[in-house]
């Protein structure tokens, strides 16, 4: 690989491991928060130790309160056991995810008091997220430690399961009636010890079966309440192994059963949820090709010489491709940034019998010899997504370093030397994990292909109105309902660019808006000649005196530049007039990312009423004089 001359391809040992703590500290001192986060990420990857957690926590604690590159995030930990030893790692991992975490934790075992009493410390803290951390043996001793005693008494175990259903139901309902914020609930891990030994398998009510029953009950109860999510604690303990997960000394001496070496893993699990809830989930995976999707260098080894197929090391690359294809099916946008000759790469995609990923799975391909940071910038621009939503994967440390230095907001994953570790490396943090898979997620890859086709058509159209007409767009504008609730909440959480106010809504909060007759809560779907884009917009507005006030107005970046926003404003004008209102009003709250939406009101004839010191502007449209009209190229349905 050729590199710019100022970069060493094989860094010396010292350059490889600079004093990262010093880098974090000095970056923060000069306000380079993204660079500090990059360095802190490397610290936690290389050595996720208690000392490093504490070091980062103290840095975060020492930040100025107005440090606005980090998002303040209040986490309540309600647990059946002593969970305070997790604080440092939670704050440290929060930092590398752009969150400034503030923790509230009542003493362990105070679940009922904290969740049932609306005046409790929990609700006074007003958490952004609450975690209900449960160890089965604390809550359900009959099924864990006292199993042999309970097992002999007829019907007692069944009653324990029924009691658990009632308890969890009343706790979660009490929480939901007091707070609309998200709640994460641990499911139950298997007992550390099978009390009946191997005979457990033969018991009609074995411990294993009872725990499965309890987890099923938990799932049933929580499915009925919006904004409550299960943390798969059982899978986590299983993944690392109970032998490693628990520490008997700490359990018996300090009521803190989780081994210190595992606390970071639990924090990382929570981070997946925090990212998903806060719109920080990564959206796009940019991969290198040589020694990433296949072994070897196609430009030197040729299509027949690269390693990809049933035998090691080719088998490891097949496995890695399968994972990437799964991410594509889950709605992650794929792109390539490779230093190669395009013809060599085309030959692999066309002719290699074991290529699982096809060219059409990639929304963008940057194949040339220019710096990869340029490739990433171009990909982000063309896909209309932020660089901070991109993950870049490469086996070459120099390429990784170049991207880290030029684009500190990109998450860079350096693949290890052994390809059999690629899958684990990419999966480790769950960077792409979402709370649920929507239809839009499943179809996203296809949607990006449609988008590319539409763009080809745009370049072929003689004028822009012909292009709009040729797109044959049909809008479906409808009130948010149970079926669209999850997608609507997801859009409020994830949309950054075409978003007037960037107000994030949880599902529970949206459900409240739906039920409130004073509010309009609307989804917008767009279909065009290339297919159905699904729900791409959300509007919320409320009548006040003689005006309709817009609270939320957002549009997915996929359909920006097609005048959908004009049709949406026209809908709101009609809705206001139907209610006998005279004005349509709204605010533009500027963020670092919502530049594309700033001139929305000005472009549609609204007049500016005021501007405050933070740059927020208020706008008004007199509906009697100049309502917005739906562009003639739209058809409507639904």
């Amino acid at each position: 690989m050729t590199e710019p001359s100022n970069m060493s391809v094989a860094p010396s040992k010292e350059a490889d491991k600079p004093d990262r703590r010093a880098v974090v500290r000095s970056s923060l001192e000069c306000g380079a928060v993204q660079a500090a986060i990059q360095a802190a990420r490397l610290i936690l990857q290389e050595q996720p130790s208690l000392m490093n957690f504490r070091f980062l926590r103290q840095l975060v604690d020492g930040l100025k309160p107005d440090e606005n590159d980090l998002k303040p995030y209040k986490v309540a930990l309600v647990s059946t056991f002593s969970i305070e030893f997790i604080h440092d790692s939670l704050i440290a991992f929060g930092f590398i995810n752009g969150l400034r975490i503030d923790i509230y934790q009542p003493g362990f075992g105070l679940i009922n008091q904290e969740m049932l009493d609306p005046k409790s410390g929990l609700y006074a803290f007003a958490p952004d997220v609450t975690i209900l951390a449960i160890e089965g043996e604390d809550w359900l001793p009959e099924i864990y430690t006292d199993f042999m005693d309970a097992e002999t008494s007829d019907g007692r175990l069944g009653m324990v399961v029924a009691r658990f259903r009632r308890q969890i139901d009343s706790l979660v309902r009490a929480f939901r009636s007091t707070s609309t914020t998200p709640l994460l609930v641990h499911n139950l891990a298997l007992p550390r010890v099978r009390r009946a030994g191997m005979a457990d398998l033969r018991l009609p009510n074995s411990q294993a079966k009872l725990v499965a029953d309890l987890n099923r009950v938990l799932g049933e109860v929580l499915a009925e309440i919006v904004g409550v999510h299960i943390v798969d604690y059982a899978a986590l303990v299983n993944h690392f192994g109970a032998q490693h997960w628990y520490d008997a000394r700490m359990r018996l001496y300090a009521k803190a059963p989780i081994a210190n070496g595992m606390l970071g893993n639990l924090s990382q699990e929570y981070m997946k949820y925090f990212r998903a809830l806060e719109g920080l989930t990564k959206k796009c995976l940019v991969v290198d090709l040589d020694n990433t999707l296949w072994g070897g260098v196609v430009g030197e080894d040729g299509v027949d010489g690269i390693q990809l197929g049933p035998n090691y090391p080719g088998s490891a690359f097949v496995e890695f491709q399968r994972l990437i294809l799964d991410l594509y099916r889950r709605g992650v946008i794929l792109a390539v940034a490779s230093k190669n000759n395009p013809a060599d790469v085309d030959a692999v995609f066309l002719n290699h019998p074991f290529m699982m990923i096809r060219k059409e799975h990639f929304a963008e391909m940057e194949i040339h010899w220019n710096p990869k940071s340029d490739s990433l910038k171009r990909i982000a621009k063309r896909l209309n997504i932020g660089l901070d939503h991109m993950v870049f994967v490469d086996d070459n440390p120099a390429e990784c370093e170049q991207v880290r230095r030029e684009l500190p907001m990109v998450t860079v994953i350096h693949l290890p030397g052994q390809p059999e570790l690629y899958v684990e490396t990419l999966c480790a943090e769950g960077l792409f994990d979402t709370l649920a898979l929507s239809d839009e997620d499943r179809r996203r890859g296809q949607l990006y292909q449609q988008r590319a086709q539409a763009e080809t058509m745009l370049s072929a159209s003689s004028n822009i109105e012909d292009y709009y007409r040729d797109l044959a767009m049909t809008l479906s504008i409808a009130p948010i309902d149970q079926a669209s609730l999850a997608r609507a909440a997801q859009l409020t959480q994830k949309t950054n660019q075409f978003n007037l106010t960037t107000i994030r809504y949880s599902e529970a909060e949206l459900a409240g808006r739906m039920a409130d007759p004073g509010w309009l809560a609307i989804t917008v779907g767009v279909r065009d000649r290339f297919g159905d884009n699904g729900i791409v917009g959300v509007m919320m507005a409320r009548a006040a005196e003689d005006r309709l006030d817009i609270d939320t107005f957002l549009l997915s970046c996929r359909v920006i530049g097609r005048t959908v926003e004009s049709a949406m404003l026209a809908f709101l004008c009609d809705a206001a007039q139907e209610r006998g209102l005279n004005k349509l009003c709204g605010r533009v709250v500027p963020t670092g990312k919502n530049v594309p939406v700033r001139d929305l009101f000005a472009k549609h004839g609204f007049s500016k009423q005021s501007e405050d010191e933070s740059g927020t502007t208020s706008w008004e449209l007199d509906l009697a004089c100049s309502p917005v009209r739906r562009p003639s190229w739209f058809r409507t349905s639904g």
């Binding site: 130790s49 208690l50 000392m51 504490r54 070091f55 103290q58 305070e84 030893f85 440092d88 000394r249 700490m250 018996l252 001496y253 300090a254 803190a256 210190n260 070496g261």
Partner: protein, 78 residues
Amino acid sequence: MSKNVEQTIRELMSIILNIDAARIDESTSMDNTPGWDSVNQINIILALEEEFSISFEVSEFEMMVSFFDIVEVVGAKI
């Protein structure tokens, strides 16, 4: 006991207790050090285990209540 080990322990305690390493001497103990509560005592013990790749018994947890005691217990293990 090498000076090096003692210095490592001192630095580790200074980070966890958020006090100047130079202020930690043989007389520094749970009784006379604000911030050295039962939670931080365990944080110190767990961090020492990680730092020196050693493991303490619970009976040793309760002995490690001053800088002097900690140096003694760790010194016996490495």
